[in-house]
Each structure stands twice: as C-alpha cells, then as structure tokens.
Amino acid sequence: MTVDFGYGMTLVALVLAIYGAAAAAVGARAGRPALVESAQHAALGVFVLITACFALLTYAFLTFDFSVRYVATNTNLGTPFYYRITGVWGALEGSIILWSWMLGLYTLILILRHRDSARELYPWALATMLGILAFFLLVMTIAAPPFQRQVPVAADGRGLNPLLEDTGMITHPVALYLGFTGFTVPFAFAMAALITGRVGDTWLVLTRRWTIVAWYFLSLGLLIGGWWSYHVLGWGGYWAWDPVENAAFMPWLTATAFLHSVMIQERRRMLKLWNIVLVILTFGLTLFGTFLTRSGVIASVHAFTQGSIGALFLGFLALVMLTALGLVAWRWEALRSQGELDSVVSRESAFLLNNVLLIAAAFTVFFGTVFPLLSEAVRGVKVSVGAPFFNQVNVPLFLSLIFLMGVGPLIAWRRASLENLKRNFLWPVVLGVAAAAAAFVLGVRSALAVLTLATTVFVGTTIGVDFVRATRARLRVGEALIPAVGGLLRRHNRRYGGFVVHLGILLIALGVTGSHAWSVQTEATLRRGETAELAGYRFRFDDLTAVEESNHFKVVGAFTVSNGRVLDVLRPAKKFYPQEQSPIAYVDYRLGLKEDVYLVLGDFARDGTQATIKLQVNRLVSWIWIGGVVLTLGALLAILPERRTA
C-alpha cells in the first residue's frame, strides 16, 4: 500500500517536472507567459508531491513498516525514535529524496523571489531547475527507488549503519545538501543568461547572492562533517582527504574563487567568460561529487551502496557539462570583454592570483582523487592517493592563499601607491615577523608551523588595522563607538562579512597547524588500576563494564584523567551491533581551548582486567570549530541585504 502510493507519487512528480521544464522553456521561447505560469503550478505540484513522499517514508520509518524494503534495510525494532527520523536520509534512496526535496524548495524560492524581478532570465532558470529536478526524480523512479516492496515482509529490519547514529546526522547532510543543491540556482541563471545571451549585470547580481547562500550551507556542511569525523569515527582527525570529502571540497573551492572574481566583474565588467565557467564548474563538481559517492567507482569510507545509479549520474554529468560549455562556446563573442587594468599592483591582480591558487587547489584535489583510476587505466597498477599527498601539495597553495587574504583586501582597487602599501602593511608585517620570532624563541621548530603562525598574525593584523581605522574615521565625525561599529558592519556588510569569514579561516588555519604540528599520541595496555602518561596527563584504568542498549551492547571503559588533580573520568567504548561484523569505536574526549584529551578504546580482556587504549592529546583543534562558527557568522553578515544608506 505504502509502496504503491509512494511510487505513484514519485511517478506523477516526474511527469509534472518534465512537463514544467518543457512548458517554461517553450513559454520563454514563444513569449507566452501563460505557459510559464503553468510551469510554476507544475513546480508547486512537484514540491508538494516530494514533500508527501518524504512524509510517507518518514511515517513508514516511524511505524516500522517493513513491507518497504528501504525501511527494512535501514532500521530495526531497536532503532531509537530520533534515528528513525534521521535514518530516512541515512542511505542512498532516502538521500536522493532529501536532495530532490531541497531542489524543489529552491525552485519554489526562485519562483517567489524572481518571478517579477528578472523577467527575461527567470523562465529559462525555472526550466533548468525543473529539468534537473526531473533527473533526480528519474533516479528516484528507476535507479534508487525508496518505495520498493519487501517480499516477504520482514519481521524485523537490518538496522541503520551504526556510524549514522549520531546527532550530527541531522545537521551534516541537511547543511551539505542545502549547499550542494543551492549551487543549482546560480547554474540555472547561468544557463538562462547563456540561452538568452543576456550575460550582463542582472545575471551576475542574482548569481552572486545565491552563490553566497549555497557557499554558506556548504561551508557549514563541511565543518559539521569534520566535527562528525572527529567525534564519531574515532581516529582523532577531522579531515582524511577521503574522496567524498574531496567531492564536497572541490565545489567549495571553485565557488570561493567565483565569489572573489565576481567582484572584478562588478567593478570592471571583466572576466564575464571566466565567471560563467566557474559557476558551471561548481555545479558540475557537485554532480561529480554525487557521482563519486554513489557509483562505487572510487573506494571510499562513506560510499553508498552501488548500482546502475552510477551510469545514470555519469550520463547526466556528461549532458550537463557538454550542454553548458557548448553554450559558452556558442556565446563566445558576447562573453568576451575588453580587459583593462590601471596598474600591475592592484586588488584586481591580487584577486586574479587568488583565483589561480583556488582553482589550482581544486584541480589538485580533483587530479589526486581520480589519479588511482588513471594509474589503473594506463599502467594497470592500483595506487593510493591519500592524506600525505594532498597535504604536501595543498599546504603551499593554502599558505599563499592565506597570505593573499591579508594583502588583497588592503591593496587599493585600480592602482596601489607605495604610500598606500606602507600605510596598510607596516604594522602587519612587523607583528607577523615578531610572531615568528616569538614562536621560534618559545621552541617551535617546525618551519611550516612558524610560517603559518607568522602569516596568520600578519593577516589578522591587516584585518584589525582596517577595522580600527574605519571605526576611528566614524568616531571622528562624532558617532559613538557601538553605533559606529554597527553602522560599519551594516553599511559595508559585504566587505566586513568577508573580513569576518577571513578571520574564521585564520582560526581554522591555526587549529589545523596546531593539531598537525603539536598533537601527541601513544598506545598503552593497562591492567586495572595502572596508569599511563602522556603530555603531562595521567590516565588511570578504573574498570570495564558492559551496557545493553536498545539495538546494541557496548563495552565501556572508565579512565580517570588527571594532571596533578583529577580532571575528569572519560568513558570510551566499543559498540557491538548484531548487524555489523566489527565493533564500532565510541570515543570519549575532554575538549579545551589549548588541547583536547581524546581516548579510543582498543582491545580488552573479557574479564575486564586489562584494556588497550589509544591516548591522544590533540592541540588547538577547538579553534577549528570556533573558526567555523566565526566563518559562518561572517557569511551570514555578507548575505544580509546591502544597505547603501546608513
């Protein structure tokens, strides 16, 4: 019953989406607003139907409806209530529903916001959105149908992947998918601009806004993903350069490049071609990411189950890229712009460099991710490209980017004078060098750490100097401090939003450097009552107990952590799920601004007298999360509607 109803709704939604896309396109071509209006109704219908599908599937999860195969494979009678809701999008089929639902939501927002404001571009953008939505609905009907009969009806389900039993499972995919799907809107406008040949300012303004929104969600998704990795996967890290992480990181890099180069186009009417290619590339990379995670072509920790879905996605990726880039070639003349700069040393040049570095980083990540395939195709030898490679190649790129982050915003547009440079960079350079010297004196010997520290302080100071100077200017004309700062942020929200984002990146860089350069770890096998020591902490093994939960049982160790005085009792565990072959590590930690104490339970004696434990003292990791919060706040500030009059 549920299956028929759900599948039926999916089919109707697919037909409606195809009709809507066609109607919007024909309406735009023939100039018939009635057809476009009809497409809007279709879009609304599609959204309602997907919402109903989503609700129906959730209901099936909540009521343990094991006649639905997806429910039977991803939940069981022991799955707690909360995870029965998040479990809906825990695996392939459900994730596609969530994806489609968000696409539908974005389509609706697009209709509401731009129906009247962008008359020429709007119908084509709507057609593009519905066309892409139709593809995902097609996936939902033929390749990964969430509504499929389980015959015979199972008495109990298999259960959710235990790694997904985490509160992060609601926020991480939702934010990440909102980011991924969000890039569809800029792409839709880019297509509209290419089709109509109106590649001027309207397209740009609309696209920039939407890109920041998608960028905000993608950043959030990446950060929460890092946090999930840190506190669930139990390896003490937050970023493994796994293909799936790379898949989300590449569009982030290209979108970041776009958000910078778009400013040049706004001011100088240059780089039209480049910017439109960046938007297409960003969207293409989100599809590529989906392809990677769902095709099983490249092995990855988070790979979803495999199937015909890979070929479908590859076909769609081919269609999208060939069409979009074909249109670019077709509109070549309109996209060409006469470039002119007033000086070699200018903010324009800094932004161009920024783009080169960001795209080079994206390309490096891409090339590293597909290189194992290339090696196998050419040499027939399987190789791995992992963290050591990506770190080595990307660190110089990112350090240069961070350096540019300090330089770029403070070089004048058009032409920078020597005076201007001296005024803006004297203090930052002095403090940066001082920081390097201080770090060296304090015993930091890693050249990379010293360099990063110096760069971070340099960039931090440039931001500080700029902000203080602008505030002072306002104070001089008689404003009070608080209104002065508030007015500055509101009136120049894009500029200062950008600065706050940069500040967030600096904090993240600090955390990444600290965790790489100064973290320590060791392993110890302890009998009950024995202690191990690491970095001034003492860990005493107190006992080992077994606890029964609704859908698994776990073995919990208790370790008293002290450094002179007792700080905490940490309880890392191993969870044994009936449906999993190997136990799942459950880490325990004590977070701090300076360092985290992080414990992973390893092997243990069954009578509870002995346990092996991995001890880690991870330095400065908390600053990554703090930086993440700062970064997202900055992005929010930049999204606020611009207020040119104070």
Binding site: G234, R267, A387, F389, R414, T525, H552, D603, R606, T609
Partner: protein
C-alpha cells in the same frame, strides 16, 4: 536482532573470562614518533581511506605493533615501508612513490599552478599595455562607476 539475542550476546561475553591476547610491548625502546611516521604513510587495509596510524581498527593496531617490532629489530623506516609494499603492492602507500608514471600526480598540479600564473601574468601585461602606450586612460568611465568609486573612497579606510 531481538533483545533476547542481545542478552545472549551479553551473557556470552561475561561467561568467558579468558584473557584475550593484547598487543605485545616492544622489546627494545623504539621512538613512538618513528612508528607514527611510518604508520602514517601506510593505508589501513580494512578501512579504505585511513592510515594505519589513524585507524582505530584491530588490524591497524596489529600493523602498528608489527612496525614497532621491525623497527626494534633494527630495520630502517624505509625498509619497514618496503616490507609492506612487497606484500600489499604500491596500493598500501598513501602517497604514490615518486617515480615513473606516478610523477604525474606530483607534476601535473605543479604544471597547473605554473600555467595559471603565466596566464595571469600575460593577461595583466596585456591589460596594462595602454599604460605603457602613454595613451590617456579612463576616457569614458561610466558615471555610475565613478560615483561608486567616490563612495568607496569616502567611506573606505
């Protein structure tokens, strides 16, 4: 899995009291740092994309012990690495050895940066050609733009 099954699993766990084998301590003191260094370059074979150093799995823990033992026996880090490559193939190295075809993975990104920088240099040169030609610049700045610049200058730092 029913609750009964779980209970069974639990009781099974407590019935047996035999001590399970735990990782042996190294015979000679080996710098833990060297162990991490070697382990970080090797791919954990049961977890696809984590290093032996990072993985919390039992297999990785055994492999760390093997690394420790081999180092304690006097092998150099490169030899320990080679021991694993001989058994698992190049695949086990998280960063491909820099020779032959693998050089591409290192050189292509480098070349990309180079091409990018050269392109920007050429473009900037082309776009500033008018400065060297001593032709008057900014003959037709559009009024909206100059207004924007004025505002920027007024309010900016």
């Amino acid at each position: 899995m029913s609750r009964l099954g779980l209970r069974l699993l639990t009781s099974l766990f407590f019935l047996s009291a035999a001590v399970s084998p735990v990782t042996a301590q190294p015979a000679a003191p080996v710098s833990e740092e060297t162990v991490h260094e070697v382990a970080a370059q090797l791919r954990c074979v049961v977890c696809q994309n984590l290093s032996v150093d990072d993985s919390p799995s039992e297999m990785a823990s055994q492999m760390r012990a093997i690394i420790r033992d081999r180092l304690a026996a006097g092998e150099r880090p490169a030899e320990v690495r080679q021991y694993f490559v001989d058994r698992y193939g190049e695949w086990i190295l998280l960063s491909p050895p820099r020779r032959g075809f693998n050089l591409l993975v290192w050189l292509v990104p480098l070349a990309a940066v180079g091409v990018g920088l050269v392109t920007v240099a050429v473009l900037v040169r082309r776009w500033t050609r008018h400065l060297r030609d001593h032709r008057p610049t900014r003959v037709d700045v559009d009024p909206a733009m100059s207004e924007r610049i004025r505002r920027e200058v007024d309010s900016g730092p």
